[in-house]
């Protein structure tokens, strides 16, 4: 399978490169574009006085864009990653979009979910101002990142302010019932190619840009399902409701001689209470349950002195980010973490950046761990989009 994907990829890539290099003929209506991004770097982590450091293998994500007509388009992103000397290939998204009219576009397939803005708009390495995601996203995150289903989205011009919306239905999340991984009992898993029951997830986001200069946007997202457990299991009817609030503000400010960029998002996940089983070392089984509520928050401020004289200074960017994450009390994965991240970036071009960052994280609890863990990390990443 991997070989097939790779050879297909080499073929498409080679053909495309040829086409893009020798493209002197008239543009055609259909158009294929190969894009993507990657990053590499070095990381040093010091966790409760245990230090480790590593060079990162390059992560490479090719993106295929195919514009069939002015209304119909296809997008797909693969991700190639070296994980323990093994090549891992992931399908980030693959969907078709069709512009029905000026206010409605339909998307279908696997798409990034507009649950807040981080995963849909800000996570690619060349867009994210820091080398990693805030707490609460990614592998152990509580926010869904993509879904398989259909979506309507679009925007309305309110004569100055603008309103945009998205409404979707996707395969629902799956509740980890702890039968295989008892330490993860109660966690929602969102990566579902096949749904495990008939209950689908419904959700959407509404965004408002109150000012005509597009500087600010406020968003509210919701995601809801009436069942997350395996069909015919006692967890079948365990429902979940998630919501997110997001904020963005980007504006050049003359007295500050630069562009100020603020991003923030709050996520809240509320899963119906269910009973799980904990097996002790002596073989005794005990039932337990907890109030399954998690939340996470981040706020990021960055500043680029774009209006100063010096060409070197113009390319610099200063970033600060606060994030926290709280997993339910009583769960095996109970956790309360707080992270501060600081960054200094040097922009080589609009989509290539060298990021230097220092982060300090305090974690209380977390997957099977007790007590408080302090982790300091130093990151140097180079991200490039193309």
């Amino acid at each position: 399978m991997k070989k097939l994907i790779l050879s297909l990829f080499v073929f498409v890539f080679g053909y495309q490169l040829y086409g893009q290099t020798y493209n002197t003929f008239e543009p055609s209506k259909t158009q294929f574009m190969l894009r993507g991004y990657g990053h590499t770097g070095f990381e040093y982590m010091d966790s409760n006085d245990e230090a480790e450091s590593t060079f990162l293998g390059l992560t490479y994500a090719p993106i295929f864009l195919y514009k069939h007509s002015d209304r119909l388009m296809f997008e797909a992103e693969l991700e190639f990653k070296l994980e323990g000397n093994e090549l891992e290939i992931g399908l980030e998204y693959a969907d078709v979009m069709y512009v029905l009219n000026k206010n409605i576009t339909v998307r279908a397939g696997k798409f990034l979910l507009p649950f807040g803005t981080f995963m849909e708009r800000l996570h690619p390495a060349w867009i994210n101002r820091l080398p990693n995601a805030p707490l609460g996203y990614g592998h152990d995150g509580i926010a869904p990142s993509s879904g398989i289903g259909v979506e309507l989205r679009g925007a309305f011009d309110l004569g100055g302010p603008r309103l945009n919306y998205s409404i979707y239905s996707t395969n629902g999340p799956r509740l980890n019932d702890g039968s295989e991984e008892p330490e993860e009992a109660g966690i929602l898993q969102f990566e579902n190619f096949e749904d495990n029951n008939l209950a689908k997830a419904y959700g959407g986001r509404i965004g408002i840009l109150p000012f005509s200069d597009s500087s600010a946007e406020l968003g509210f997202s919701a995601y809801s399902t009436s069942g997350t457990g395996e069909e015919d299991s006692q967890y079948e009817d365990v429902g979940a409701f998630l919501f997110a609030l997001d904020f963005s503000y980007v504006k050049p400010i003359s007295p500050l001689k630069g562009i100020v960029d603020i991003k923030a998002q709050y996520n809240n996940s509320n899963v119906d209470t269910a009973t799980f089983i904990e097996v002790h070392e002596d073989g005794d089984a005990e039932e337990y349950s907890f109030d399954n509520q998690s939340n996470s928050f981040y706020a990021q401020l960055s500043y680029r002195p774009t209006m100063v004289e010096s060409d070197f200074m113009k390319k610099l960017e200063f970033v600060g980010r606060y994030s926290d994450f709280n997993a339910p009390e009583g769960a095996e994965w109970e956790e309360a973490s707080v992270q501060y991240a600081f960054g200094l970036n040097y922009w080589l071009s609009w989509r290539s950046v060298i990021k230097l960052s220092y982060q300090t994280t305090e974690t209380e609890g977390g997957h099977g761990a007790d007590g408080i863990t302090n982790t300091d990390g130093l990151f140097i990443h180079w991200a490039i989009g193309f």
Partner: protein, 106 residues
């Protein structure tokens, strides 16, 4: 949770219906580009429309640093504009005006 779920689904359904009605009844179905000159000339036009260049500066910096017109050729800009219109949920007018500007200035 059951009632929250029902409310969410009901609200979502109502929104779908509303959006469809609004979108289908709005009179100007297709956006027709207005030349900058025409806008300046017409007396009735009390609100000065933003130029594609200005919109490009405001809109395309919201998530990432805006690319310059010279970064891509016309065909690529058409693909990118459609991609960004959908991904960033831009209005048709915004995205068409910016596309015209990018294609005229590259």
């Amino acid at each position: 949770m059951k009632s929250i779920h029902k409310i969410t689904v009901t609200v979502a359904s109502i929104l779908v219906v509303l959006i469809t009605i609004v979108a289908c009844t709005s009179t100007k179905e297709v956006y027709t580009p207005v030349l900058e000159k025409e806008v300046a000339d017409s007396d009735q036009e009390f609100k000065i429309e933003k130029s594609g260049a200005q919109l490009w500066g405001e809109v395309c910096n919201r998530c990432h640093i805006a690319p310059s017109p010279s970064d891509y050729n016309d065909t690529d800009w058409e693909t990118i504009s459609l991609h960004m219109r959908v991904r960033a949920n831009l209005t048709e007018k915004e995205s068409k005006k910016i596309e015209e500007f990018l294609k005229s200035a590259n």
